[in-house]
């Protein structure tokens, strides 16, 4: 690893660590979203130290450009109610799960951190758009198409869940409900 790579790793990992804590700990969701963006940009720096240039660009485009903006849109849409008061509800079980998670993390982190591997020499094309695109379109074309279909379905589903029912749909539902009530009433009178 070069000295520049070491410096980039040190800066990116420290920023990633603290911005992750700030994201999950922020009181105000808008601040959490902005810290999430800082976190994502520092991860793009980490990808650069691993020679994954294309993935660093995708990370910035998709996460910082789309996901964080989506979060900010929703926070703006919900308004002041997006900020919730700290609650002590279920505090016992939450603390127990937190302690368990910390123990799990520390154990695995100490087990993994001693894992050593050689910095294998790489070709200059490693991680470039050309090499990754070659791999993507030659070896993983079917999963790639499936992912695009999944994204389309997810976006249509998101619209269907989030939108209000139209007046026509509300009227139709009311009419169907009334028809059921009428049919039940009729059946009851016939029985009587």
């Amino acid at each position: 690893m070069t000295t520049a790579g070491f410096v980039l790793f040190a800066i990116s990992s420290v920023i990633a660590f603290f911005s992750a804590i700030a994201t999950v700990g922020a009181r105000v969701p808008l601040r959490a979203a902005l810290f999430l963006m800082v976190h994502i940009i520092s991860l793009a720096g980490l990808y650069l130290t691993l020679s994954a240039h294309m993935l660093a660009a995708v990370q910035l485009l998709v996460y910082a450009g789309a996901v964080v903006v989506l979060f900010v849109f929703v926070i703006m849409l919900i308004g002041p109610a997006s900020e919730t008061k700290p609650t002590m509800k279920n505090m016992g079980i939450r603390l127990v799960s937190l302690i368990g998670m910390i123990l799990f993390t520390v154990t695995l982190a100490f087990a993994l951190v001693s894992h050593a591997a050689d910095w294998v020499a790489i070709e200059t094309s490693f991680g470039t758009v050309e090499a990754v695109g070659h791999e993507l379109y030659l070896n993983t074309l079917v999963p790639f198409e499936v992912v695009s279909a999944t994204l389309t379905v997810a976006i249509v589903g998101a619209v269907a869940i989030a939108r209000k029912a139209t007046e026509f749909e509300v009227g139709e539902a009311k009419a169907a409900r009334q028809a059921t009530i009428d049919a039940l009433e009729e059946a009851r009178q016939e029985a009587a």
């Binding site: 660590f17 999950v24 020679s51 995708v58 109610a81 998670m101 993390t105 294998v120 997810a154």
Partner: protein
């Protein structure tokens, strides 16, 4: 000190732990969704790091590419659910998502 694969794996594990702790401790559905994003990103670091140390092909990078795509879909659906919850309950606290409880 030489930075190796272990440093990346340890960092990814710590970030995953932070995300999971946030998901378990916080009760704000928006922040819980952001914690999920932190966890998914931690997994991506592992894929890319291991790929760098086994550079015969780009399978790890392709895999994290797919993870990014699925995470975007997950964020869209999750935020739509938060909006639907807010419309019914006028709050984004995940404890209030108990309409199906009898």
């Amino acid at each position: 000190m030489e930075i190796g694969l272990g440093a990346y794996l340890g960092l990814a594990m710590v970030l995953f732990g932070i995300g999971a702790s946030g998901f378990l401790m916080r009760r704000n559905a928006l922040i819980q969704l952001m914690s999920i994003e932190v966890m998914l990103n931690a997994v991506n670091i592992v894929f890319v790091a291991v790929n760098r140390f086994h550079p015969a092909d780009h399978v790890g990078q392709i895999f994290s590419f797919f993870v990014i795509a699925i995470a975007a879909a997950e964020a869209a659906v999750g935020l739509a659910l938060v909006i639907a919850l807010f419309r019914i309950k006028k709050t984004v606290e995940s404890d209030n998502a108990d309409t199906l409880r009898h």
